[in-house]
Subunit: 326 residues, 2 copies
């Protein structure tokens, strides 16, 4: 297959969207933004050997490249609308591409995302997705609005994706069933889009936890010029990760606090919003957990089970310091 | 340097633009599109060893990744506004990045492009740029509007970038002065943004010649459901390429008709627009040349100097068939 055949065969499948005036097949796409809305735009790259294993099932990879970008939309409280996918491929394996597309388009259709453009080139396998969403003007949730005494919340459970990676690398021993469960969390993350939309008029700040709670929360603290006090015991985790604390506490703590790839949301909201947030949790059937408070003192403490602050917080996932999927 | 230091040091330089409500540093950027405008969006990837040599001067690479995307905006008649840059780097060489950014930002400032987002990861060196522009609703120039008897025009001169590549690969012998001249055309293409804007109400179809005239023009013919008759002698070329026809006609013809990387515009317009287009040419000090006509007969002929159609037209640059910069 040459470039044009690949595009025709795999990347011309567009969700029908009246706002798309011109889709794939010209020098650029043309879309009509909705009146009164602002555009929310993000881009994420995933490289083989860095963000995914060479033998990852392509169907999960197709899901994940879109999911991580949808997660950015969720963190902004935006409605995702349009995507552009740039892919570098080492060869043009039709079966592999078909599986990749199955994962991609299944998720795209669920959220009604129209793929409006892309670029297909030869190179080390890598995907870069640009996502464009909309919010009513002035309503995007940023990192800069957290206020003193706000609650700090997280969705779902943290650390499972990192624990999956540790298990795959044999840094911890788990049953095959548990590895399979965790691997789903690593490879098929569910973006919290509905939660982000629900939080639009409630959260004072939000982000998605892609690089680990302790590093990512710092971004909110720096942007908002505040501090935080977190209760370690309050951070939600799976029974599997809880059990891992007994085997290897350092590793388990690292997964919980600095594990990337969970794509849960961390957000702040005033105490008065607790009932509203609990109602959102129930309607979405998604656990939302208060893990601490925003403080005027600009320091960041995580308080352990003995009431003492952890001395050293694990660093965030740094795309230039580690190699995780080699 | 880690990822966050790289972003802070090199990628936080934003052209001041009141439409940018939130720039680099959150989960996504927020921009306010102009009322009454449609968005025009494209993405292009450049990979080391594929689209550029490993030893390319980084200042020219920073220019080119933006230039090829601006060229897509030009081909649509769009005003480029905002960009997102995803970069995979093998290491974090501050001098190399500083030079890359000098090339990028010089061109960005010239066209008042605000860099609003990006992603920095480790991997085989690769850059993917997403560009977003605007046109008044319904005014984007597509590939599908060419009409029978329209003139076919090209800007500038074709084939120099491909000839530069041939010279670098020692497929043709040229003086060092001529190689240096041609290399500028390959490495520092000038996007025809002002021309694209000037053609908005004149051209019936347009595209930028990134993969070679003969392949790219076919896209207009297929989209518009028409044919074309081109005069080979009319295709504008530099004196250096003209001289190369004497040494190696096959190679020179290939450069002229199938050479990628020129980033000139090819467009169609009614005969009645000739004077208007000549005036644009004069005001922009950019040669615009009529090379043939659109025909009702859906075939595509290039007529040689003896009045005979060329039997085989060179193929377009295919990103899965060749390796040009290995």
């Amino acid at each position: 297959m040459n470039e044009f055949e690949i595009i025709r065969r795999f990347f011309s499948h567009t969700y029908r969207d009246d706002a798309v005036r011109l889709g794939i097949g010209d020098d650029a796409a043309v879309i009509a933004p909705s009146p009164g809305q602002e555009l929310v735009i993000a881009v994420d790259t995933m490289n083989k050997g860095r963000h995914f294993f060479a033998d990852v099932p392509p169907v999960t990879l197709g899901h994940k490249i879109l999911a991580v970008n949808l997660s950015d939309m969720a963190a902004m409280g935006a409605t995702p609308r349009w995507a552009l996918l740039a892919g570098s491929l080492e060869d043009s394996d039709a079966d592999w591409l078909a599986a990749f597309c199955a994962g991609f388009y299944t998720l795209a259709e669920k959220y009604r995302i129209a793929l409006v453009g892309g670029d297909t080139t030869r190179g080390a396998t890598s995907f870069t997705l640009t996502i464009i969403g909309e919010t009513p003007a002035g309503k995007a949730i940023t990192r800069g609005g957290a206020r003193v005494d706000d609650d700090i919340w997280v969705s779902g459970q943290l650390g499972d994706a990192a624990l999956a990676l540790a298990a795959i690398k044999k840094q911890v021993s788990l049953s095959p069933e548990n590895i399979a469960l965790l691997r789903q969390r690593l490879e098929i993350p569910e973006p919290r889009v509905a939660l982000g939309l629900g939080l639009r008029d409630i959260a004072t700040a939000a982000l998605d936890i892609s690089d680990g709670l302790s590093g990512d929360l710092r971004h909110i603290l720096e942007s908002s010029q505040v501090g935080a006090r977190i209760e370690l015991d309050a951070i939600p985790r799976s029974p599997i990760l809880n059990a891992a604390f007994k085997e290897n506490k350092t590793l388990a703590l690292h997964c919980l606090l600095a594990g990337g790839d969970d794509y849960e949301l961390c957000f702040t909201a005033p105490v008065s919003a607790r009932a509203h947030i609990d109602a959102i949790s129930q309607s979405l059937e998604l656990p939302l957990t208060r893990i601490g408070q925003i403080t005027a003192d600009k320091s960041f403490h995580i308080i352990d089970e003995n009431g003492r602050p952890l001395h050293r917080l694990p660093d965030a996932f740094d795309h230039f310091a580690h190699t995780t999927h080699a």
